[in-house]
């Protein structure tokens, strides 16, 4: 069974002209866990992953697998499997020939081609030209490429993009299995909801900088707790809250009060003699925490 290596980013920075795409990013990714690499589109995720894989030269800093940069790995495809967002296929080449060329380049057995195509569910389309593939099939083929060398580390850029619901369910199970086998799994996404069912850890970046890293549960904090309150006599409730000097907005299910403690709101209503029909605390979801962290990012 291949074992995962620790991925380590050390103060990695990339500038394109005057634009800083990635700024002084440092974090590690541990084996045996699925790590979500999250951030809005344009946050620098793909650039960071391409630096990790030796495709883009960092302006400064380093990215390594168990201490070794990608370009110096003696057998790169056996160590790291990567699937990047771009559709990197010649449309006139069949899936089997596409993968076959790279098994030759990496000195892998030709039998791996059929094996990985079977793993990703493309066995029936092996001899079809990639030009006729759907987006979901291309994603699967990209994943098949990453599995050629049965690597201990998987680096997948937006692997869920373009998959149908069945494919999404499948890849979630697949990622968990890979991590359970002791591999290092790093998966990027611009949507937390897309990966929150399968990731153990999250690394969140925005505008090229690290804004959060830790276990998924670390996102489950009430950064903006609110109380929902309603009354059969809403005008009286509005008056009571206004007198108490609390800020609130009207929501679909009642008034949303920007205080953390439902007891406080209940006490105000009681003192004013207003009957309540709804009183509860609303927890911000993981997605809200995520959005608050990457605030200012676009395309969300």
């Amino acid at each position: 069974m291949p074992t995962g290596a620790v991925i380590e980013f050390k103060n990695i920075t990339k500038r394109f002209g005057h634009t800083t795409a990635v700024n002084d990013l440092s974090f590690t990714v541990e084996p045996g866990r699925v790590t979500g690499f999250l951030g809005p589109n344009g946050a620098g995720k793909t650039t960071t992953l391409r630096m990790l894989l030796g495709l883009v030269a960092p302006t400064s800093g380093s990215a390594t697998f168990g201490g070794v940069p990608y370009r110096d790995l003696p057998r790169p495809l056996d160590t790291v499997g990567a699937a990047l967002e771009a559709a990197s296929f010649h449309p006139g080449r069949t899936a089997a020939k596409h993968l076959g060329a790279y098994t030759l380049a990496a000195g892998l057995p030709r039998t791996r081609v059929a094996e990985v195509l079977r793993t990703v569910g493309l066995a029936e389309h092996a001899d079809q030209r990639v030009g006729g593939y759907s987006l979901g099939m291309r994603q699967r083929l990209g994943l098949a490429y990453s599995l050629l060398g049965d690597p201990g580390v998987l680096v997948l850029d937006e692997p869920i993009n373009g998959l149908d619901p069945e494919g999404i369910k499948w890849i979630r199970g697949f990622l968990s299995r890979m991590a359970a086998e002791g591999r290092t799994v790093l998966v990027s996404s611009h949507l937390l909801s897309e990966v929150q069912q399968s990731v153990d850890d999250v690394i969140i970046i925005a505008k090229g900088e690290l804004v959060h890293s830790g276990p998924l549960s670390s996102l489950d904090t009430d950064i903006a707790p609110q109380v929902i309150v309603d009354s059969p006599n809403r005008d009286a409730l509005v008056a009571a809250l206004t007198n108490a000097g609390l800020a609130f907005t009207s929501g679909r299910t009642g008034l949303i009060v920007a205080v953390p403690d439902p007891g406080h709101v209940g006490h105000i209503a009681f003192t004013a003699g207003v009957e309540l029909s709804v009183l509860h605390r609303q927890k911000a979801g993981l997605e809200d925490s995520f959005l608050a962290l990457v605030e200012g990012g676009d395309s969300l």
Partner: protein, 278 residues
């Protein structure tokens, strides 16, 4: 040794897993077969009298007394006309990686980029030689059949004919290397193809023609790639049509061609190949 053999095997697999190689080979064969066969029939007809010399208003062009060299001249069409095909295939082999973004999986499998480029040169040299054989099957194969039909000796007993065939194969192999260099120097596939076609079919023939007017320009013009290629092969319609023009020695022509290929490739390595793949 595996370090270079593996990427070479991968490059061969890439070339033969799309359709363009046999399409180009087929067009090359047909094109050269028509030219070589047609001219063999024409000169053969003149030679045995079935076409009257009076019917040809020869305005000081090809002198019939040179027809002793007719078979080598016909055979050399494989390279002197067909060289555009290996250049195109070589250029497609590199520009295709940029165009279809296959540089990403290629560099992931072989992160040492110089090794990939060297593998491409080795592969295209061999594939270019293969195209040379295809071109010769048309020029020397079809050409000799037609010449033979008109009772002209195809000169296959002559060792010099076989040497010319060998030099033609070498020239075509070197042209494919030049294609790789051009493709890495001009990674845009469309721009590369336009340059190949415009230069080989229009710009260079004009330059060679113009250069032949004075001794000084002729001494420069002989270093043009097409002129160097004709020098390497040793016989061509072009050198025949511009007598007195300075011509390189055969081996010099080969070195000049190789130089063009290596300089273009080295230049492209620094301008495009080593850059970020985004």
């Amino acid at each position: 040794m595996n370090l270079i053999l593996r990427p070479v095997a991968a490059e061969f697999s890439k070339i033969f897993s799309t359709r363009i190689w046999w399409i180009l080979a087929l067009v090359l064969f047909t094109y050269i077969a028509l030219i070589a066969g047609g001219l063999s029939a024409f000169f053969g007809g003149l030679e045995n009298g079935s076409i009257s010399p009076d019917a040809v208003n020869s305005g000081g062009g090809a002198d019939l007394s040179t027809l002793g060299n007719l078979p080598p001249l016909i055979y050399s069409f494989a390279a002197s006309v067909g060289y555009v095909f290996p250049v195109l295939l070589g250029a497609l082999a590199t520009t295709g990686e940029f165009r279809h973004q296959t540089l990403t999986p290629t560099f992931l499998a072989t992160p040492k980029r110089g090794r990939v480029l060297s593998a491409k040169i080795i592969t295209m040299f061999v594939v270019g030689a293969g195209l040379g054989l295809v071109g010769l099957a048309a020029s020397a194969g079809i050409g000799a059949l037609v010449l033979n039909g008109f009772g002209i000796d195809p000169m296959f007993a002559d060792g010099e004919t076989w040497a010319l065939i060998g030099r033609t194969v070498l020239a075509m192999a070197l042209w494919a290397v030049i294609g790789v260099g051009l493709g890495v120097l001009v990674p845009s596939q469309v721009a590369s193809i336009v340059i190949v076609l415009a230069f080989t079919q229009f710009v260079e023939p004009l330059l060679r023609f113009a250069a032949a007017f004075t001794q000084v320009t002729a001494d420069i013009g002989k270093f043009l790639p097409g002129a160097a290629s004709d020098a390497l092969v040793g016989a061509s319609f072009f050198t025949l049509a511009s007598p007195g023009g300075a011509v390189l020695e055969s081996w010099q022509g080969g070195l000049v061609l190789l130089g063009y290929g290596l300089i273009a490739t080295a230049g492209g390595y620094f301008t495009s190949w080593k850059r970020d793949v985004t």
